[in-house]
Amino acid sequence: MINPSIVELAIPGTQPEYHFPPYLSSIPRSPRMPLVLLPKTLTERTGPVFGHDLLRERDNDLTAQHGGDPIGERILVHGRVLDEDGRPVRGALVEVWQANASGRYQHKVDSHDAPLDPNFTGAGRTLTDEHGHYWFKTVKPGAYPWGNHYNAWRPAHIHFSLFGAGILSRLVTQMYFPGDPLQPLDPIFNSIPDAAARQRLVSRLDMERSEPNYLLAYSWDVVLRGRGDTPFEERHR
């Protein structure tokens, strides 16, 4: 019996545990005390709404944010943001960041010995349209090494941050590419226990949206927590 007045818990197996020893950084940073149940009050039922004034031109075209073309495989990443009833989430803020085609982030703490690309920052954001659809033009990120264990390499991925209807629909995750042999070796990918749930983070090659002689497209739909009855923050004067 679901208590509608308590924040519901995730379906078992579909979300990572905080403490996941194969991912070493989780060991000193994950809580050990039991998590406390939270009543669903106005605070939990509402969330921020962002408008188009937050965005700038070319915010969702990561290949056009500098003077020249970035190096790498040009791709379109697109899909829909849906709620748990499969309905589109309109006006959802979707934020992305990623490594460049060489597997290097434009970030001061990334010491990987791979070249930076002066034409690629690797950051974007957009709002979903009336059908819940989003798109980004970018280059395919490279795999890169990290210090978790001997010869550890992250599979190619794009970081996604999403806001849906209500603060509890907030999601930060990573989108992966189909057929990447590094996925089964990656503790972060494998932190999600359920195999089908892991596969839902893998995008699909989309030849219908690919453009001949120009770019390949990958399609990825994201389901956020919450249902159609979750109100957005009410507007008022």
Binding site: T14, T41, L42, T43, E84, G86
Partner: protein
Amino acid sequence: MSGDSVQIPAGSQTVGPYFRIGLDYLIERTPALTLETGGVIEIRGRVSDRDGSPVPDAMLEFWSASKVGDKLGGDGEAGVFPAGFRRTATDADGNFSIVMARPAPVGPGVERAHAPHMLVLVFARGLLRHLVTRVYFADEQANQGDPVLTAIPQERRATLIARPDESRANVYRWDVILQGTGETVFFAW
């Protein structure tokens, strides 16, 4: 997929160490408030781990459903930045700060019993899923009757309460301890 089909929410993955590339822009594009404006508070704190070490790559998001800040943030007009929301990230020493409207009690009805508070989401490298907590204010009488706060064991309650900074008006101190002694209360979701 056209409605009426039950969907399973996507799994979370860590924000990782490089999120500032993609997420700092929102901090930069947030309308600035100053403490000189009435009804504005600052919360300063530090995020630390099991060993008491600073967490220099954490992001925190604060959400208040109370409407008191609308006139400050311009909320209520389509496309204007939501007054009840702020994002911040920790510096090299694990410190963070947010400046936003002081939340009012949220209502109506039974929720009037809730003391002013904000929901706080904590993201960091090492957190495969973000943490959910709340922050209250030590100088609010209503804390004594708040149903969320009073349901938490007495000895852990203080981890959710920001304390006034004696040296500066409208500035509060609130630390987040991810694990170990004084571990912050986090909620299940």
